[in-house]
Structure formats: C-alpha cells, structure tokens
Symmetry: C2
Subunit: 529 residues, 2 copies
C-alpha cells in the first residue's frame, strides 16, 4: 500500500515496517480525505532517536544566530505558503479558513517563531549570570538531547508539533525535535514539515534537526516517551494521554512538560451581571463556541449568582446557545469523548439546559449548557469538574460569597481563572477575596475578559498547577519563558575566557543583558575572574 | 518509653503512636548517644500535612519583609548558638569541630540564610515581568502548598532539612516546610528546629511554618512523598532513596527536586601532570578524604594518562592514601554501603591499590584507591561508574585523547566535571575537546580545582543531568536560583493595580529589578496597562 514518507534521519523516507496507516477526515462530513499516512514501526522509533541524538550534539554547537536565521526563514516560508497551509488545515479541521486560520492562527504561528528568533539573538532565554568574585558563570543551555513533541488536535498551526510553541521553544534552545503529527491533521503537519526541512537545509542546520512521525501505537508511543536518550517531552492534549506519557517519561528521568485538561472557572460577580449582564452573555457565548469550544482555555465552568440577574444571564445565554448551529468538532474521537463527558456531568447531577448531543453530518455537537447548584457541585466536585472538550459549559448557581469561596476550595489546578466585576467598584470586596482564593489554583488570573485569548508574551503564563500541567513553574506559551522548559543549567567554574560560550565571556559586544554580581547590565566584565 | 517531642502543627509535642524509635551514635566509637527520637506514625504524617496546608495559605500572604526578617533572625540565632550546635553536630557526625563545623559549615549555613533573606527583600527570585501592551504581568510566587524536605547525612548544618539550602529556599518562596531529620544527627536537627521555631514565633510567621519529624518507616515516607497536598519535595541522598521518593511524588504530580549520586570525573591532562603532578596528587588526596570523602562532589573518578607522569602521580597519591588514617564515616549504613560499593567495583574489574576495607573503632574506612584501565571502564561503565560514598576514588588509566573522549561518551549525568590542564597552554587543544564532550554531561564544568568546593553564589549550579539530579534546569545551591525550585509561575491578565502583588504594580518604590517590555529596569511603569 502507498503511504506518505516520514521525515526521518534527515530525509523523507518511505516507511519500512509501518505498524498501520490512517487517512485524515473532513470532520464536517466524516469523509476520508488525502493520502494514507503511516503509523511508524519500532525501527522508525529507534532510527529517529539515533539520528536526533547525533543531531543534538551538532545543534548545541551551532551558532545561535543560525538558529535564529532558521526560525525567521521558516516563519517566512509559512507566510509565503499561507494559502496552501490554510486550505489544508481547513480541510482537515473544519476551522474557519479566513477568520481563524488565515487571520489569527497563521500569523500567530509565524510571530511566535520570530519572537523565538529574537529571544535567541538576544540570549534572553539563557539568563547569563556572572559572579566575578567566585569565578563562576552560568546560563541556560541546550539539553544536548532531543525533545519529543506530541502536538494537540486543536491548533493545526500554532501548537503544531512541527511549528508551534513547543517546536519553536525546543529549537530555540538548540535541541532537535522528534515530532508526532496529530492524526486529525496529518497533511498540514506534512506540509509544515516540508517547509521546515527545507529551511533547515537552507540555513545549514543538522538535517535531523526535525523529524516527523505520523503516529505511534500505544506501546511505541510510550517507548519513545520513556527513552532516556530524550532530553524532554512536550505534550498538549488529554489528561489520560498526558498521564500515560508522563509515567513513562518519569521512569526514565525525562522531564515531561504536559498541558492537560482545564475547565477555566469564570466567576460572574453580582455587580458585573447587574451592570452588563447581556454583554457578558454574548461574550461568554462567543468564547465558549469559538473553534467549537475546542480550546485549552475554554470557559467550561461559569459561576453565576443564584438570583434574578443570574437568571437573566442564564436565559440570555440559553437563547444564544439555542439559536446556534451545531459546532464541527475535530474528529469522531472528540465527539464521542464530548458525549461521554456531557453524559457523565449529567450523571453526576447536572441538568442539561440546551444541547447535550452530537449531530450530523460529520462530527458535530450542539452547543451545550449544563447547570447545577453550588451545593451539589461542592459535594460531587470530583465528577463535576471533569473537562468537556467542546462547546460546552457547566453553569454553577451560587448563593453569596461564602458559598463561592467554598466552591473555589474544591477546584483542582487550572490554566486560568477569571473574575468579572462591576466597573463602579461595588464588587470590589468580594473580588479581592475571590482573587485571593483562586490565585494558587490557576496559572493565569484574569479580570473582565474571557480566558480563550492567550497572548504570545514574555509575561504570559499558559500553564498552571497540577493537574492542568505537569509542573507549576513553566509556561507553554510566551518567549523567552517557554524556551526555558527545554534548557539545562550550565555552570563554568574558573574556565578560561576563550572556553566560555560567547555570552558569558568578559567582552560583551552584543550588549547581552547579564546578571553580573547581582545587577542586570549589558557592558563588558572588566577582567576575567 | 521516653522519646523526644516532634515539632508538629506549631508546637513541640510528644509522639502519640510512634512507629518506633532510635538513638544517635557517635560514629567514632559506635556508641549510642543522646535521647531516643521517635519514628512518626501515620497520624503524625496526616497532622503535619493538615497543619502545613493551612500554614501554606497564611505564609503565602505574609509580607516578604517578614520572611526575610525570619531568615535573618534565624541566622543570628544559629550564630549565637554556634558552640552548642557545633558540639552536637561533632558528637553525632565526628566531623572536625573547628576546621569543618565551626569555621566552614556553620558560617556557610548562616550566610545562605542571609543570602536568601536578601533575595527575598530584592524580589530577586520572582522575575517580575510586565508587558504593558498586552496587559499581562507575571512573576514567580509561593506554591501555596508545603514542601517536604528530606535532608542528607553529610552536612548536619548547611544541608540540614531545617536549616540548609532546601529549607532556606522553600521558606524564602513562602512555603512551609515539613522536614525529616536525618537519623545520623537527630539532636542537631532538634536544636536547629528549636531555634527556627522560636524565630518563627518571634517574627510572627505561622506557627506551623516548620515541622520536624525524626523519621518515617518506608511506607510512611512514601506516603508523605506521594501526597498531592505537597507542593514539592526536596531530597539529597542516595540514588535508591531518591528514586523511590520520586516515583511516589511523580504519581501525585508533586515536583521532586532530587540531588542523588555523582562520581564527579576529574581529568588530569598530560601537560598538567608534567607541570605539577605532585601538587595535583596532594590536591586530589585532600579533596577525596576531606569529610571522609562524604561529599556529593567527591572526586570519585580520576582519569590519569597511562604514561610515566601518570605513574608518578598514582605513586604520589598512593603514598598519601597509604599514610592516611581511616576516615570516620557517618554511620554503620554508610560504612556497609561503601564496602559494598568498593567490593562491587572490584568485582567489575577494578584493582584495589590501597585501602578497600572498613576499620574500627566505630565506623571507619581506609582511604581507598582503585584502578582500572580505560578499555575495561568503557566496557563495563555501568558497573564501574557506581558511586562509592566515602574516601574512595577510582583511577582510570587512559591512553590518549581518543580514548579519553570514548570514556566521556559513556558517562552518566554528573554534578561536576573537572579538567586540569597545563598553565603553559600545551594541553589547550585537548582541553577544548574534553570540555566540549563533558559539557552536556555535567552541571558544573570546572578548571584546575577540585569539585568539593561549592560556593553559595547566584552563578553556582549544584545540579546536573539525570541521574545526578531529577531535573537539569535547577540548582540546589545558590541564591536566588535555588529558590525557583519552590515557586509557581503566576500571571495577572488585566488585573487592577491594587489587586497585584506589590512588585508587579505600576509604582516601584523599592526599585525592584523588573523585565518591562523586554528591558530590565527598576523604575515605575508609567500607567496601569
């Protein structure tokens, strides 16, 4: 059978002993589209690890400027190929071509690559630190080992394993990437990898800087994640998938950066509802149904006062959800998983106000609102804070601040927590207490805007406490911070100046910001310590 | 039976259902000394976690200045109590009272606490980051959960679970500590904890900021490490112990910072030996036998040219080891473990040149040199790079640079790697290639000095690649860097200025160094974003 080649050991190669194959589907119709893509075999995993291990040493030795040149060249190639990429991604994901893919996600992807290039040129991710008296110099440096990236279904470009934040971060830190395509958009992955591979060769990086496999069976995926030759693992996806990979990686001492499930609680304080309830209903509806709700930061839990203005808000939101067409999901798997989650939430005591079921053609789901009272939520919080990945939100009706705080006390770690309050200050006392209680439970605390916007910024945290991610100290989005996930701390103790990496030498012709004897400065160090 | 009280839930309490007890021993004689200390029961673990969880919230809300005041007050209390502490630590560990404990380790301990206080006052560990255009502000913040610290045997003061780097780091980040005393120096732990507890109460920190348990049986230790209420775990000790705790912590999503075994390879290049072989033999002997070799950074593997100057070095070193008295180890366990390791190294093909056996009275071991040729080392590197914790080093005789590089390729991750080269430059070409090969395998790359000195510096890395530690991106020593292990990344998205932590507000009266729109600066931000 004819299958697409894999990008392995520096070249596009026909699979030798594939464990199987699959085709993409148009999720709007359920029809198979495009060519057959291979599931890799054990020999491919071994070949990828061997080639990446060799490339890791070469890449660590590559001048940072060349890495930056690659990131910029790749960004430009994506821009140049935008029409084709958008068409492929649209066909495979049914995400709106213009409003989402062309105007938002593709520019986000190239901007992210360019910000990574900038962080590389400025050595911003390396935190050069010099103690002249002690003769010590340290910085963050490449792992010297490859990074395995498992991309998610929900951003075929901006979180793609061959173009997204994990990719850009791992490469910026000069580590090769072994990428796993998401099976819901393999042709998009292939096209991006073709562009990346060409840019890799053009800029003179090691040919195996990027490798692409289209899928693993479970055993091989865990074998890859648990191989001690890996320097780290980046994963975005479901909790079950992340936990399995983490267990394998942990046993091999491989740091696993996981972005798993999150329900992103949104608190609508009474004053905010009284002031602008209708506007909030619209804002919430738009956020919950954009991309058919398939966002890590989807507002999956909305805490609404159990009073008249809360009733009005719910009625408003309900009307919008009722009038909405079913949203197209990425795959049958997402649809089935969502149905299972919605059924489980109802089984745990939530009432379905609207939607609650899948629809055809293809893989669609009716935008869905569920409701439960706070007492029941608190009592069965384990079951009721289950993520429903899609255009679904659970409204929790709450009576007063005390109950709100009791609810917060039951929340697991989340990527985000949001509080809407009145502009006139009437909610301020409650606002302060709700923020205080939410703070340790979320990575990003948001005021008066929905959580679905995730700016690519040095001050972003797209991360959060367990189990939303695997480590509360790292972000998956934002340069240079996201790069640090894929870095090792390197210290030099009395090494001769000539043996130091350029950014740690006495002379600092590039004006790199360095922490010298406790002060951030960008000048030379006067004498070799 | 009368047992010492535990520091639990804010007070010194008699153990209720202890699982057992033990007494310290004078390792120089093997005699039991001091009172009986309890092994805690299941109820104590639960009580400690409950109290620490409550304290965590209160501590996160404590003004940083008060934390700094505590760290300074505790440092002063240790200074004031130096005579008693040194006497206790000397009795329990047999470490030299004056030269090591009073003159080196105690001042290091108090300096470390004071540097942590300074980092707290300067917000140096928090990396305040502001993106005015995006309305985002982030920094590192308390975990909001307690940190369990498992201290090692080898630094009764500077790495003590109630006074050392893990303790200072966790507290500086405003997290409570549940400390486990090391059973080889419980009375030292008790005395330190008394001083810490008094300083906690005096400075108005939550009473359960520090709790102290004297020991767990294996099941309870793993239960503690695997409790999801923990924010993190700090461990310094053996690989077997660290791995067991890590497995438990990993399953609960608790980041585990482990500083495990390391053999710290030292490369003596031919020119260095020709130039100053006798001096190097003395330096090596002193480093390998100081503290009876019980250092994480002990030079446990020395790569010596297989030529005449190498022979002279080995003969020189041998003479010094032969003339040395047996070193006192910390416990029977250390002595038995060391004998096992030395026997295993011989079983794997190493020849014992001197020593190789324990001695009495108490727990002593003859300073030991083993030797093997590089070919055998490379062939059985798994067995031959086993740590022998004590005054023991394995000399590897190597022929030329190619074999040296082949040997390096077999090395596991280590805390340090050291290269000695000639001052006149004749080794420089080899030096560069050896450094290059060693770099990704060690945390700290050292030139021309033994690895046993670990300065408390912002530029230190007392960490390294797996399996020397559990994560290559963090250091266990050095302020403010070590503090980051116990921090969560917190982002604020369009929060009102008044709801931000002081160091993220527009006004910056303390002149905190902040990364504002990509530049490190210490002035105000002009307008709330």
């Amino acid at each position: 059978m004819n299958m697409q080649p894999q990008l392995l050991a520096g070249a596009w190669q026909a699979p030798r002993e594939p464990a199987g194959h699959y085709r993409a589907e148009n999720p709007a119709t359920g029809e198979a589209i495009g060519p057959a893509f291979p599931l890799c075999g054990a020999a491919d995993v071994e070949a990828a690890l061997a080639a990446a291990t060799e490339a890791a040493t070469a890449l660590a030795d590559t001048p940072p400027a060349r890495i930056a040149d690659f990131l910029d060249a790749y960004a430009q190639a994506i821009d140049n190929d935008a029409e084709t990429l958008v068409a492929l991604a649209h066909a495979e994901t049914a995400l709106p071509a213009e409003t989402r893919l062309a105007k938002v996600e593709l520019p986000r992807t190239t901007r992210q690559l360019r910000l990574a290039a900038q962080a590389v040129r400025e050595f911003a991710w390396t935190s050069p630190t010099i103690d002249t008296a002690a003769g010590l110099r340290s910085h963050f440096a490449p792992l010297g080992k490859p990074v395995a990236v498992f991309g998610p279904n929900n951003f075929p470009l901006a979180f793609n394993a061959v173009a997204g934040s994990d990719f850009a971060s791992a490469i910026a830190a000069r580590n090769p990437v072994i990428a796993k395509a998401h099976p819901s958009h393999p042709a998009t992955c292939e096209r991006l990898a073709q562009l990346a591979h060409r840019a890799i060769l053009d800029t003179g990086l090691p040919a195996a800087t990027l490798q692409l496999l289209y899928g693993y069976d479970r055993t091989l995926g865990l074998r890859m994640a648990g191989d001690a030759r890996l320097g780290a693992l980046g994963f975005t996806g479901s909790r079950a998938g992340g936990m399995a990979l983490k267990t394998a990686a942990d046993a091999a001492g491989v740091p696993a950066y996981l972005e798993m499930s999150s329900i992103n609680p949104v608190f609508l304080l009474p004053g905010a509802l009284a002031e602008r309830g209708a506007a909030l209903a619209e804002e919430f509806f738009a956020s919950c149904t954009a991309g058919s709700g398939q966002f890590c930061t989807n507002p999956g839990l909305v805490i609404v006062p159990d009073d008249a203005s809360g009733d009005t808000f719910v009625a408003d939101a309900l009307a919008r959800f009722e009038a909405a067409a079913p949203g197209v999901l990425f795959s049958r798997g997402v649809m089935d998983g969502l149905q299972e989650a919605v059924d489980a939430l109802q089984g745990a005591g939530a009432t379905c106000l609207v939607g609650g079921h899948s629809a055809g053609p293809g893989y669609r789901f009716q935008p869905t609102l569920l409701q439960v009272n706070a007492r029941d939520f608190i009592e069965r919080s384990d079951e009721l804070q289950r993520e429903a990945f899609g255009p679904v939100s659970l409204l929790v009706r709450v009576s007063g601040e005390t109950e709100t705080l009791a609810l917060i006390a039951q929340l697991e770690g989340n990527l985000t927590g949001t509080v809407y309050s009145a502009a006139d200050g009437r909610d301020d006392a409650t606002l302060a207490r709700v923020c205080h209680a939410l703070r340790p439970r979320v990575g990003r605390l948001i005021a008066n805007r929905m959580p679905t916007g995730v700016a690519v910024s040095a001050a972003m945290n797209h991360g959060g406490p367990w189990p939303s991610t695997g480590h509360p100290g790292f972000t998956a989005v934002g340069m240079p911070s996201a790069i640090r996930r894929f870095a090792a701390l390197h210290c030099y103790d009395h090494l001769a100046d000539a043996l130091l990496p350029p950014e740690l030498r006495d002379r600092n012709p590039g004006g790199v910001a360095r922490l010298v004897d406790g002060q951030w400065r960008s000048d030379d160090v006067s004498a070799s310590a």
